[in-house]
């Protein structure tokens, strides 16, 4: 089943000096339950693509369909996690997690149960009534993910979700995400500039060119993820695929700076 279908997408930003092309004839398909990452040089438009998928901005031309229907705006079928967490600073941890459930009209008892379970899952018991300003970056990101998972969207759109975290927290969160995905099998589209992360987590990695972004390469990641991080990272297959992807991105980066 095709969950997300993008055909011939074009997007330009209007700036003072004229038009800044961001995406050019982008095609993409994501199957249901698939974990796909998009990588590419900085400024190549990968976040723009994600925002269009999320329905926050509109493409200039081309088609974007989710579950067979065109995307007209944001919706509860596509949960989003931003790099800057986008937590509501005036709400506590539980209030933030509860928010989507309130909006989708979930009954109170079930709402509270889900919130409690999620707080437990992300390991923030005792922090229920704290405000985001009192949390560390990793904690904030966990709340952001929990908030998005709470109302059970079919698709998860992640925009460099771990970009603002330090390296160790990032690894922990990646494993967390992998675990959640393996348990729930949601469709995931993740944008990241970290090739390691992309190969570690995804089943497919799409490489975008420099601006204006186009899909230039696709890699199927068929590695064995049944072990733990150590076994995966030291796996020879993993490293060879990772190197290939890195090289593909590297070429785009070099082309971008030569341009």
């Amino acid at each position: 089943m095709i969950s997300i279908c993008v055909k011939n997408l074009n997007k330009s930003y209007r700036v003072r000096e004229g038009d800044l092309p961001a995406l050019s004839a982008v095609d993409m398909e994501v199957a249901e339950g698939e974990f796909v990452s998009i990588v590419g040089p900085s400024g190549c438009g990968k976040s723009t693509l994600l925002y269009i998928l999320g329905g926050f901005i509109r493409a200039d031309s081309g088609a974007v369909e989710v579950a067979g229907k065109p995307v007209t705006g944001p919706g509860t079928d596509r949960g989003v996690v931003f790099q800057e967490y986008a937590l509501f600073p005036w709400l506590t941890v539980t209030q933030n997690i509860r928010y989507g459930l309130e909006m989708t009209g979930v009954a109170r008892r079930e709402r509270e149960e889900r919130v409690r379970a999620l707080v437990r899952t992300i390991g923030l018991e005792g922090f229920e009534h704290r405000f985001p300003r009192e949390l560390s970056g990793g904690m904030k990101q966990r709340v952001a993910i929990a908030r998005t998972l709470a109302y059970d969207p079919n698709i998860l759109l992640l925009d460099e979700p771990f970009g603002a975290l330090d390296a160790q927290t990032r690894e922990t969160m990646q494993d967390e995400l992998l675990r959640i995905w393996q348990a729930t099998r949601k469709t995931v589209v993740m944008v990241t500039h970290d090739v390691n992360e992309a190969v570690y987590l995804s089943e497919r990695v799409l490489v975008m060119s420099q601006r204006p972004g186009q899909m230039v390469a696709e890699f199927r990641i068929a590695i064995d993820r049944s072990g733990n991080r150590e076994t995966t990272m030291l796996n020879a297959d993993f490293n060879s695929v990772r190197n290939e992807v890195w090289l593909a991105v590297r070429r785009q980066v070099v082309a971008a700076s030569a341009a």
Binding site: G54, F56, P74, E84, F88, W90, Y99, M103, T148
Partner: protein, 271 residues
């Protein structure tokens, strides 16, 4: 509106600054005042000694004159502030979310910004006569602008990501206003209200001094005309104290309502 830092100069964070020791300089000033008069450095006719002012203040309190006029002035000031703030928030919100509203109110705001609202008091006296209506309308107009501008800027600075997240989680458009834009703009709105609080007293006292039958401004003016200078000073002191207490009260409310706010709590501000 470029923000005049509305917080007081915080200075250092010493603990003893937070205690009554903080007001010692004021006591020192009062002492100098008293000494200057007692030692005949200043003419008693122009500067009544502190004890005379205190006695006058006490007398005014005792015979109810202070209470009545204070209540009247405070009523006018706060009624105007409340109306002006509510209207201001509504208009600011509209301007920040609707290009049509912005196109309509924007030029009006930009033009009347530079008009001293106290200049309208004589006009209002012509229209409404001397009394509450004139005062309250003047106060409303003076409070509108700072609240409109600060609400507008506050709403405009709410990060788009917050609105996007809310929409992705199923928030309908009308709820985005109430649950995302207003809380996100709250710090800015409070800052505007604090500025408006300053204005509301100025306009009330101005209007009462220009022409009024009642109120603290009128009282002070009357005492001045009749040469009861100790009473005049007392009345002015009362005004200063009330305005200060009102500002502190607003600050307390603000800190409670914004207890979640990051930058309010990372800086150390002397109260």
């Amino acid at each position: 509106m470029s923000a005049v830092p509305a917080a007081r100069p915080g200075g250092t964070q010493r603990r003893w600054l937070q205690t009554p020791w903080r007001f010692l300089p004021i006591a020192i000033v009062l002492l100098i005042w008293q000494l200057a008069v007692d030692l005949d450095l200043v003419n008693r006719a122009f500067l009544p000694p502190v004890n005379a002012v205190a006695a006058a203040l006490w007398d005014m309190t005792r015979n109810g004159e202070l209470a009545i006029n204070l209540a009247i002035s405070v009523y006018r000031a706060f009624a105007g502030l409340a109306i002006g703030s509510i209207l201001g928030i509504a208009i600011g919100l509209a301007m920040a979310t609707s290009p049509q509203a912005d196109g309509f109110f924007g030029p009006l705001v930009a033009t009347t910004y530079s008009l001293p609202k106290s200049s309208l008091i004589p006009l209002f006296i012509l229209w409404f006569g001397i009394g509450d209506v004139t005062d309250i309308v003047s106060v409303v107009l003076a409070c509108l602008l700072p609240v409109i501008v600060s609400t507008y800027h506050g709403v405009k600075s709410v990060p788009a990501l917050l609105v996007w997240s809310a929409r992705a989680m199923g928030t309908p458009h009308y709820l985005v206003l109430w649950r995302v834009l207003l809380p996100g703009a709250l710090l800015s709105i409070f800052t505007g209200i604090r500025i408006a609080l300053g204005f509301c007293f100025v306009l009330t006292i101005s209007a009462e001094m220009i022409a009024a039958k009642t109120g603290l401004g009128k009282l002070i003016f009357l005492y001045g005309e009749n040469g009861a200078y100790a009473y005049m000073f007392g009345g002015i002191l009362a005004v200063v104290i009330i305005a200060y207490l009102a500002d502190r009260w607003l600050l307390t409310v603000m800190h409670y309502a914004l207890r979640w706010h990051e930058s309010l709590h990372t800086h150390h501000r002397a109260p």
